[in-house]
Symmetry: C2
């Protein structure tokens, strides 16, 4: 029986599993420390398409087809897709998954989208609304840069607090069959706004939301950080990591010995000049659907808290002088 | 017990209800044929804010606070919000509902968002994950025009197939208490792409998706159109209505005697020069949360199919020459 727990969490007690995973990333991600973990590395940043946006759609399309193939299921068995990306009106998703002809719940949680999609997917399967669903999220360095920052041709200087948007896509199939890892629970995040307005310091924008959802996860489930082998944020980077650890320490919680950030790990900053680390929906999604789930599958980690982190910014709100609020969604994943 | 039905539907057999509703619209909508149905009409299109985007956020914020007030619940009883809008990265939602401090699932389904938010909200309540959730969607004429079409100052000519984006917001509280109407089931839509590229003819872009989800609703539940007193689309307008009725006739289904389109009804085209009709997330959301739910509450209609319709377009994909696919999500609503 699944049930609500505390103020903003749900426990899945009747068994919901990640049955299959797939990840496809770009060349720079393939050259990083986790390069050997991904299913496919695409050398051409345009993936054979005419533009960056269409390329991101192709990352989604190929990852979706790959995860279905790896699951051994017929496409018709996937009842719903929960998916999203960073681009305006989710165009990477629209043109990426339309061809599959599977009912879609389009989601926007900025870079927290993989947490949101797995949360809703697990809720759907646990309630018996579907036998299998797909959760998916993507980002692309070039489509994101031109949407959110500057045209690439402008070659702007990047401050050390800036992150590098990951080109990649990760996807899982969620079902009731024992598989790669068990989804034990979720904690859904609130928007947290500390008034930060620096689009070149997304880590600082997102860290308060990550701290809030981690705090509430521990509180709702009445646990301490050592309940988890790792507490894994999406793309806080070095700057955001420091803030997160400090903010939780102020509330008497020390996660410094078990914090892992996908953005920090996906690139080698010394070699790859990525400054604060990787970012984007595709960062946490691709690292989850490769390295992280493999650690759980092999039993190296028993239980983790996966916390993709999103910065709720658009070029419009940014140019109108608005702050950049954060949101983060937490998923409890366990080795079987 | 709730259960999956057919290929893409869910039946809620254990009672999920719309417990409260609220709608706030702009001046033009207030002057339309349904003007007396809405909770509040705001004369100032900027709603006291500095820009159109912030104004749309204020429509969301005020509507959310009003629906909570009308429900008689404490804010803390609303466990999750399912919400979205049309703007890039959902900024109307971010800045509209952040203040409430309620866990958020951000959704993007273009103008179908109210169908998506009610679907996921009902799934959540029926499964026991929450006692009460909020579903909400908004749009604003001016924020949408500048995002998707032309700057207002340009005063472009609008073809007769163009629709007029509704300035407004609608919101419901979904729970297990008997209330305004019962949510009996949902049918979740697929992306349907007929290759149409005319951003001034959104009705034609969306009609195939509406036809597909209505067809599958009837098939999944083994029913005929006369199961419903009304089949209500979101914002197909006059052009889309004709296409929808024709497409379903080709499949042997006649809905012409019971089709109602929120976009056609919200404005008086002869008096208000709105061409094909109203559109936007706020169109179906505000008409649902006023006129439609009142007809069910009073028992004038016994059962309806509510089908908000979305055109999956962004300025980027449009300028890159992509088509405008459609999506629609259906909700079965019944008088108690």
């Amino acid at each position: 029986m699944s049930q609500k727990v505390g103020k903003q969490s749900i426990a899945f007690e009747n068994g919901v599993y990640i049955d299959a995973m797939a990840s496809i990333v770009g060349k720079k991600e393939g050259n990083g420390p986790l390069g050997h973990e991904f299913d496919m590395i695409v050398e051409d940043p345009k993936f054979g398409e005419d533009n960056w946006d269409a390329a991101e759609s192709k990352f989604q399309n190929e990852t979706a087809k790959l995860v279905i193939s790896k699951s051994g299921l017929a496409k018709e068995s996937i009842r719903y897709i929960f998916a999203g990306d960073l681009l305006g009106q989710l165009i990477a998703t629209t043109f990426g998954i339309a061809e599959l002809g599977i009912p879609l719940f389009g989601l926007y949680g900025a870079c927290s989208t993989m947490g949101e999609s797995i949360s809703l997917g697990a809720m759907t399967v646990a309630a018996g609304y579907a036998d299998y669903v797909m959760a998916l999220a993507s980002s692309h360095f070039a489509s994101a840069e031109k949407s959110f920052r500057f045209p690439l041709e402008y070659s702007n200087q990047r401050p050390y607090s800036a992150t590098w948007t990951v080109t990649g896509c990760g996807s899982v199939i969620i079902g009731k069959d024992k598989g790669i890892a068990k989804i034990e629970g979720i904690t859904t995040g609130k928007i947290v706004d500390y008034g930060i307005k620096d689009a070149m310091n997304m880590g600082a924008c997102m860290a308060p939301a990550a701290a809030d959802v981690i705090y509430n996860n521990l509180k709702d489930f009445h646990i301490e950080p050592d309940y988890y082998d790792k507490i894994i944020t999406g793309d806080l980077g070095y700057v955001g990591q420091t803030i997160l650890i400090d903010m939780l320490k102020e509330r008497g919680i020390d996660i410094s010995d078990r914090h892992y950030d996908c953005g920090i790990e996906i690139f080698d900053n010394d070699e790859q000049d990525t400054h604060s680390g990787g970012s984007g929906c595709g960062c946490s999604a691709s690292v989850l659907c490769s390295y992280i789930l493999k650690q759980l599958e092999k039993g190296y980690w028993k239980r983790i808290l996966f916390v993709p982190t999103g910065a709720l910014m658009s070029p419009i709100s940014f140019n109108e002088g608005q702050s950049i609020p954060g949101i983060a969604h937490a998923v409890v994943l366990a080795s079987e």
